[in-house]
């Protein structure tokens, strides 16, 4: 076949109309296509006046503008006709142009309202529009400054007026000389810095007791502080003086406040400690203010005086209570009124008294001139003892570990674990009281003074061995120590005897160089005896060491001789020396007799037996030393050896006071030197 030419294809819009109905005879009734206006109406229905669809809105805006002119009259006619339900605008409206018409109508309404308003506003006949002014947000700076200045002025006015008042009162106070420059409040401040005050109601009360320091004394010390009344300042002082006796005008009150102390604490008080032997006073101390405080003295002095009175009262009451309960002494202390009397040693009494004078003009203490300088020890001790009692009351050691109960002393805590028995626990609770302690201290003072006095006296009287006493500068309240050295003058390197004496409360203990410890009682005689014995021993010992230097040989030596006269006190000491060549013997006996006269020493020279000596005119020097014993030499070339011992050694005594030499050792040295030379 031959190729045909192009096929024409025609594209057509299916313009077939929808079949509306088919009649019974087969004829189709086609649905008429929409007319132009119908299609326009259909498009107009789709106009969205809410403006959600921008494209549609732009498009429909022109369509609306176009259709508004056409359907202007249609709208009028059909407005009443169609009364489609407006509520259901999504469903088919009865009239397609209804929504368009409604929108346009509302737009017209609004525009007409605007037009009316503008016309009215412009016409100014019925309504005038005025602009409303907003409130000014910030004031002008000059106004602010003004306000501030005014406020400050008011405040400064208040301050200035107050200052004027104060200045006026200060000037007034200055002009009046009585109260000087001190104000009540400043004085109160100073008072408060020194004393404890509190305000009770309208009154100011203070407390001057030692309660917060641990005292448990029941008597309280409450004083009252008041303003000092202005005494009338007229020159005539007698008229306002209340005392009956004429007095000089009272001194101007030096402070603006006055303190009122309780009556029982007024005046001054002191504790008087007095050691009495028969009628003499050995030592005394006054505790307290020696000077009376006048009644209108400064409040500080008055308060201190009152506090001192309270302290003395408490101290005395403690001492009195202990004196009544003290049973450990052979003679118990006696309490009579304001005085406690205790016996220290037989014949020596300790008197403690409380002297309290209220008038302020206390009688002066008994004018016993005590040259002893240990008063302060007793005074200080009593104060310290009471303070110690206070302190133990207030200071309780805290427990370790921390959960243990408080209030128990450390030793008692160990009571359980260490299984203390009842006796040990009871002993732990026993404490020494103040009175016992002060009695011990006084006894020690007496003993020490006595020992000092005795040593000084002995040193003055005995010159031959010098007695040097060194007292320890640091000692306890009941224990002192002195080191005594006996030394011969000129021979201190070769001979010194030392001993130490410990002085306790009721006894002395002497420790000698060789280690012997001797316990002495408080009797002064015992110390004297001991020292005299030591002096006697010293002479012999010194002689022995001297003999070593000179070459003499010690034949025998004994510190406690059992031969010779029986001594009244102690024992005599003696030694025997022989000369280097053996031709002479020296026998020395030293006895501790009473030191008036000096302890007597007897020296004997021993000659070998069968020695003949001539007693010629050696008596000019009264020496019994036969210097010329030449004939002796013949018989005694051999000395004492080979001699007939049954013949015995002849001893001749020496009068030491006739020998040359300043002390015994010096004399002996001379003697030994001479006797050594005898051929």
């Amino acid at each position: 076949l031959k190729m045909s030419s192009s096929v024409s294809v025609s594209v057509e819009v299916p313009l077939e109309n929808l079949v509306q109905e088919i009649t019974y005879d087969g004829m189709e009734l086609l649905q008429q296509p929409l007319t132009m206006s119908e299609s326009l109406a259909k498009l107009a229905q789709r106009i969205d006046f809410c403006g959600q669809d921008e494209d549609g809105g732009a498009g429909s805006g022109s369509a609306t503008a176009g259709s508004s002119n056409e359907n202007g009259d249609i709208k009028e006619e059909d407005a009443n006709g169609e009364g489609g339900p407006d509520a259901n605008f999504k469903t088919a409206q009865s009239w397609p142009w209804e929504s368009v018409r409604n929108k346009i109508r509302s737009a017209l309404t609004e525009l007409s309202v605007f037009g009316d308003i503008l016309t009215i506003a412009q016409k100014k006949q019925y309504m005038v529009l005025d602009p409303v002014q907003a409130d000014p947000s910030d004031t002008k700076p000059p106004a602010v400054l003004m306000y501030k200045k005014k406020a400050l002025q008011a405040a400064s006015q208040v301050l200035l007026s107050g200052c004027e008042r104060l200045r006026a009162s200060m000037n007034e106070a200055k002009s009046r000389p009585s109260l000087a420059t001190l104000d009540f409040h400043i004085e109160l401040l100073r008072l408060r810095q020194n004393w404890r005050l509190r305000k009770v109601g309208n009154a100011i009360l203070g407390d001057l007791s030692y309660r917060t320091a641990g005292s448990r004394f029941p008597q309280g010390g409450i004083f009252e502080v008041t303003k000092a009344e202005d005494d009338s300042e007229d020159g005539n002082a007698d008229s306002q003086s209340t005392s009956s006796q004429p007095q000089p005008p009272p001194p101007k009150p030096c402070s603006a406040l006055r303190v009122t102390v309780p009556n029982e604490l007024q005046g001054i008080a002191y504790i008087h400690v007095h050691v009495q032997k028969d009628q003499d006073t050995l030592s005394f101390a006054n505790i307290g203010l020696p000077a009376p405080a006048p009644l209108d003295a400064h409040w500080q002095q008055r308060l201190e005086a009152a506090q001192n009175v309270l302290f003395c009262k408490e101290l005395f009451s403690v001492l009195a209570r202990e004196a009544v309960a003290l049973h450990s002494m052979p003679i118990p202390p006696l309490v009579v009124g304001n005085q406690i009397t205790a016996t220290l040693f037989p014949g020596i009494l300790l008197i403690i008294g409380l002297c309290h004078s209220i008038t302020g003009k206390g009688q002066s203490p008994p004018a016993v001139s005590s040259k002893l300088d240990h008063n302060h020890v007793l005074e200080h001790s009593l104060h310290q003892l009471l303070r110690e009692v206070h302190r133990t009351n207030s200071h309780i050691p805290l427990p370790h570990p921390a959960t243990a109960p408080i209030g128990i002393s450390r030793k008692r805590r160990l009571g359980g674990p260490c299984a203390y028995d009842r006796q040990t626990l009871l002993n732990m609770t026993k404490k020494e009281g103040i009175l016992e302690e002060i009695i011990k201290q006084s006894q020690h003072v007496i003993l020490r003074l006595r020992a000092m006095y005795f040593l000084d006296t002995l040193a003055k009287e005995i010159k031959d061995p010098l007695l040097v006493a060194h007292w320890a500068s640091i000692n306890a309240v009941t224990h002192s120590c002195v080191r005594i050295t006996l030394v011969s003058s000129g021979y201190d390197m070769c001979a010194r005897t030392q001993l130490v004496i410990h002085i306790k409360e009721k006894s002395l203990k002497a420790i000698l160089k060789d280690g012997k410890a001797i316990n002495l009682s408080y009797e002064p005689q015992e110390l004297k005896d001991l020292l005299l014995c030591q002096i006697a021993i010293h002479q012999i010992m010194a002689l022995q060491s001297l003999s070593k230097c000179l070459g003499w040989t010690v034949l025998s030596s004994c510190t406690h001789l059992g031969v010779g006269n029986c001594e009244s006190t102690g024992n005599a000491a003696g030694c025997m020396l022989t000369s280097p060549n053996g031709k002479r013997i020296l026998a020395v006996r030293s006895s501790p007799q009473a030191f008036m006269p000096a302890p007597s020493i007897q020296v004997f020279i021993g000659y070998p037996p069968n020695a003949k000596y001539t007693t010629q005119q050696n008596n000019n020097n009264n020496s019994a030393i036969p210097m010329e014993v030449d004939d002796v030499s013949a018989a005694t070339t051999l000395g004492f050896e080979g001699m007939d011992l049954t013949a015995g050694v002849k001893y001749k005594s020496i009068r030491l006071d006739k020998l040359e030499g300043k002390n015994f050792l010096n004399k002996m040295e001379m003697l030994m030197a001479v006797l050594a030379d005898v051929s």
């Binding site: 921390a402 959960t403 450390r410 009571g415 674990p417």
Partner: protein
């Protein structure tokens, strides 16, 4: 014949056997201190210095200075196998590490008394006993088990008969030097306690007054130990 009359020796024996009677009569007549009144609180470590200053001003012994303590406490528990529902017995043994001469301390603390709610403090019965260092062995022999132990360091104050403890807990580990202690928390505990015989409730008022003085720093209050988590 000495059959009828008691001899001197027998009377003496009779008197010495009455030590037990003495003990029981002491316990009956309110002499033994076995009641503890307690208030507890805590404070952060940062505020402890201020609290210590405050307490130094309020309490006694101002001239001595701060008293510190360093203790090691161990808790022992004894179970009662017979009665299953009863509480086991707890005992605490405390020793002072800084004071080795001081005796060790054994403490029994009972349950707090469920008294009236108005009482300002907590009350419980305690027994304080001083013991030697062999107490640990003794308790082990009795059958107690060692539950826990801790170390506490701090300061102790006293005002009258009130005792105030400010302390910090540390873990106790064997072999650690004292300066390497590891604290349990970042705060200190504060305890105010008084141990008295029964019948002295007025001490609770004193405790509350003192607690008021340190109020803004630390709140001391009675703590119900059963409600603690």
């Amino acid at each position: 014949m000495d059959g009828l009359e008691p001899t001197a020796k027998q009377t003496e024996l009779h008197q010495s056997l009455s030590a037990i009677d003495t003990l029981t009569s002491a316990m009956k007549s309110n002499v033994v201190p076995n009641q503890e009144y307690l208030l507890q609180g805590s404070i952060l470590d940062s505020g402890v210095d201020i609290l210590l200053h405050r307490l130094r001003g309020l309490c006694d012994n101002t001239d001595v200075g701060l008293e510190s303590f360093h203790d090691h406490e161990a808790c022992f528990v004894l179970f009662n196998p017979a009665a299953q529902q009863s509480q086991p017995l707890t005992l605490r043994v405390r020793k002072a590490v800084d004071d080795t001469a001081a005796p060790w301390h054994l403490r029994y603390m009972g349950q707090p008394e469920l008294g009236d709610k108005n009482r300002p403090t907590m009350v419980r019965s305690v027994l304080d006993i001083g013991v030697g260092s062999d107490i640990v062995e003794f308790l082990k022999e009795l059958g107690c088990r060692r539950e826990f132990d801790f170390i506490t360091k701090g300061f102790i104050f006293r005002k009258g008969r009130l005792k105030i403890i400010v302390g910090k807990l540390y873990r106790s580990e064997a072999g650690k030097a004292p300066h390497e202690l590891e604290p349990v928390s970042g705060s200190h505990y504060v305890e105010m306690s008084v141990v008295t015989p029964t019948g002295q409730d007025i001490v609770g008022e004193d405790m509350r007054n003192l607690a008021e003085q340190i109020k803004p720093l630390v709140n001391l209050d009675k703590v119900d130990h059963r409600r603690l988590p």
